[in-house]
């Protein structure tokens, strides 16, 4: 078993017992993924925006590049609601997972929102 530290931001904080921001430890099986974590939290991927693992961006609103990302004991995961913004100029050059880079190359790396607007 592994334990990860999860912080939820925005209206999804109620999944961890808060209103706008809340943290909790979550126990998962060895080799658990982000997909497993969301399932355990009861959080639909559609309600999830930006997602970080240990200060590395793994996902963005409207994408789901982090689903198979493996988690380790002691990891910190920050998950934001879909209302959270992060304009491109304030994330240009930050650390991103390879999977997210691939997804962004496909969908347009500078978009603020994926999947709902014309591109």
């Amino acid at each position: 078993m592994i334990t990860v530290d999860v912080t939820l931001y925005g209206d999804i904080a109620h999944f961890a017992g808060g209103s706008h921001v809340a943290s909790q430890d979550v126990n998962l099986t060895e080799k658990a993924t982000v997909g497993d974590l969301l399932q355990k939290l009861g959080l639909s991927p559609d309600d999830r925006g930006y997602l970080f693992i240990n200060a590395v961006l793994h996902d963005a609103p409207g994408l789901y590049a982090s689903k198979d990302a493996a988690l380790d004991d002691g990891d910190h995961i920050g998950i934001f609601s879909t209302t959270h913004m992060w304009p491109y100029q304030y994330r240009d050059g930050i650390h991103m997972s390879d999977q997210l880079q691939k997804a962004m190359k496909k969908h347009g790396s500078m978009q603020n929102v994926y999947g709902r607007t014309d591109k």
């Binding site: 912080t7 304030y90 650390h95």
Partner: protein, 586 residues
């Protein structure tokens, strides 16, 4: 009626209405302030001397019916903080009222020979010069209240606090908000000191009976503003109950912190353990819990449909200050190691009242902490620093000069400035793209200088892949040019989010400008027009003595690793020089 230039000379208290000359006729907002400053201000002049000027200009669409979120006023001059040309813009009540008086710009020049303080009232009938000795020394909350008592039409009040009166380099210019309080600031670059050097404590603008704004093509304006409005209302970030409306700009605090890019304790780390406690999410919780006058989703100027401001309440629900926004909460919070929103709000009130830019003020406190004057995280001592400024003690005057002066006073070498202006809330070692903009902007380190517009929407030739390491200079230039254009429209820069993702919004912005002005502008022209503005600004700076060596991030970022990613600044000088190579014919 064509737009007029109102030239106010404080040397003899004269006011003259001039026809706008052909060379300036196409400009408004930032484009106009920069054009006038380039033409009329000697680049080598002392910023506080008689040869500097303060230029005030609403945007192209300001004052037109129902143009959404178009209440920005540009202020321009030579900056006492940076020595460069400066444009700093603000929300509040002034933009529409100046525009509705038929004015393209107000040029404030000269200095009173009697050394007295003046208050100006600008109405449809002209300019009234009044003795302001009763306002001198007063904070902006009291000044705004007194002037609304004097003038029943709830006019715009443009004013300076005690810091501007003393001509200190971190003096901002306040514009009152719809509640008649300060909090909307053309904060950056010390233009409040330039206003103070003109002997003007406050300018009242009442547009009652004014001629309004001429509109060249009503149908095109209507078409443009409808497209833009639809984009703003549709986009997840700007729509009602979207990110900005729900949490304000402070929606970014936790995101930037999670990314490891939140400057902490004077740029010594990229994550702050108390970030959540000063974030927009926490502000929302406080507003819900305390109720009363507290609110999120507050509009900073009439007609704003994004409404990203807030009113922060105390424990009894009484308003403490508006607005606790991201840069402010970061500067006075994370960057000082302070995780208490009540103290952040109280310090923000002090900044608004004294007339200080919150970003520079927070960075200055962090430098005092770095220099050992007080401890990081000591919120009581941080708040007490504002007493020094209010008392204008020798130390308070140093704090009022901003980061570089304070760093010299305390022997600090970790100084997060470019061209004399301190950095906002994004660490360039973690967020390298913005570092290129910080380094090369004509304004000094400025987070609003490079707002994102996708090259494919902006109609820029060539393919730029933002995920490649190469090409950061092209992107930064595109962003800087787009921002220079938006800063000239009167629109709030936050329209950049929807017009990035929704191309009809981008077209609508350009069409609304074309509809008001009659200029032949489409979305494809925006970047080129923005570059014209940048070229003027760079020309001023070059004449003032700035070179490529000034387009650099601070030295310590090249050798101090930033946790948690432990990276240094790695973009080459050659890449930085590419951003403005085109102004040198390269």
């Amino acid at each position: 009626m064509s737009r007029k230039i109102l030239r106010i000379n404080m040397s003899d208290q004269s006011a003259v209405y001039e026809d706008i000359p052909e060379k300036w006729s196409k400009w408004a907002g930032r484009g106009l302030t920069s054009a006038i400053v380039l033409d009329e201000v000697e680049p080598t002049c002392h910023p506080l001397g008689p040869n500097n000027k303060l230029v005030i200009a609403p945007g192209w669409v300001s004052g037109t019916p129902a143009a959404p979120s178009s209440g920005r006023t540009s202020f321009g001059g030579k900056s006492p903080l940076t020595g460069t040309i400066k444009e700093s813009n603000s929300g509040g009540l002034s933009s529409k009222k100046i525009a509705k008086l038929g004015l393209a710009a107000i040029i404030l020049e000269g200095e009173p020979q009697d050394g007295e303080w003046y208050q100006l009232a600008i109405t449809k009938d002209g300019v009234e010069f009044k003795d302001a000795s009763d306002l001198a020394g007063k904070g902006m909350y009291e000044v705004d209240e007194i002037l609304w008592d004097q003038y029943p039409n709830k006019p715009a009040v443009i004013g300076i606090g005690p810091v501007g009166e003393k001509k200190l380099s971190n003096a901002g210019i306040s514009v009152n908000d719809p509640e008649g309080k300060p909090g909307r600031y053309a904060g950056r670059g010390g233009l409040g000191a330039v206003m103070g050097a003109r002997g003007v404590k406050a300018i009242v603008v009442d547009d009652e009976g004014g001629p309004g704004v001429d509109i060249a093509d009503e149908d095109l304006l209507k078409q443009g503003r409808t497209k833009l409005r639809d984009a703003i209302m549709e986009h997840d970030l700007t729509k009602p109950d979207g990110g900005l409306n729900t949490y304000g700009t402070n929606v970014l605090m936790n995101i930037i912190n999670e990314a490891g890019g939140l400057p902490t304790r004077n740029f010594s780390a990229g994550q702050f353990e108390g970030a959540a406690d000063i974030s927009g999410e926490r502000v929302a919780e406080m507003v819900e819990k305390r109720g009363g006058e507290g609110m999120t989703g507050h509009g900073c100027h009439p007609g704003c449909i994004i409404q990203c401001s807030n009113i922060y309440p105390d424990e009894e629900g009484e308003a403490v200050v508006s607005v606790v926004e991201y840069e402010t909460a970061w500067a006075l919070g994370a960057n000082c190691g302070i995780d208490d929103l009540d103290y952040v709000a109280e310090m923000t009130y002090q900044c608004n009242d004294l007339g200080l830019d919150t970003i520079e003020a927070g960075n200055t406190i962090a430098i005092a902490m770095e220099g050992g004057q007080i401890e990081f995280g000591d919120k009581e001592a941080a708040l007490a620093l504002f007493d020094e400024i209010r008392e204008m003690s020798p130390l308070g005057r140093i704090y009022g000069q901003g980061v570089e002066a304070t760093a010299k006073a305390f022997g600090v070498h970790r100084v997060p400035t470019v061209k004399g202006q301190s950095m906002p809330a994004y660490e360039p070692r973690a967020i390298k793209g913005i570092g290129v903009t910080y380094a090369t902007s004509p304004m000094g380190a400025d987070h609003t200088a490079g707002y994102t517009i996708a090259p494919e929407i902006a109609g820029v030739g060539g393919k730029v892949d933002p995920l490649d390491e190469e090409g950061k200079s092209d992107l930064s230039l595109t962003f800087q040019a787009a921002t220079a254009f938006v800063d000239s429209t009167g629109y709030c820069l936050f329209i950049a989010f929807p017009i990035l993702d929704i191309s009809s919004g981008w077209e609508g912005m350009a069409e609304s400008v074309a509809g008001v002005t009659g200029l032949d502008i489409t979305g494809d022209d925006v970047i080129d027009i923005g570059k014209e503005i940048l070229r003027m600004e760079r020309e001023f700076n070059k004449k003032a003595g700035f070179t490529a060596q000034d387009d650099r991030p601070p030295e310590f970022m090249r050798y101090e690793k930033l946790p948690p990613h432990n990276e240094v600044w790695s973009v080459s000088d050659e890449e930085l020089d590419q951003v403005y190579a085109w102004t040198n014919g390269k």
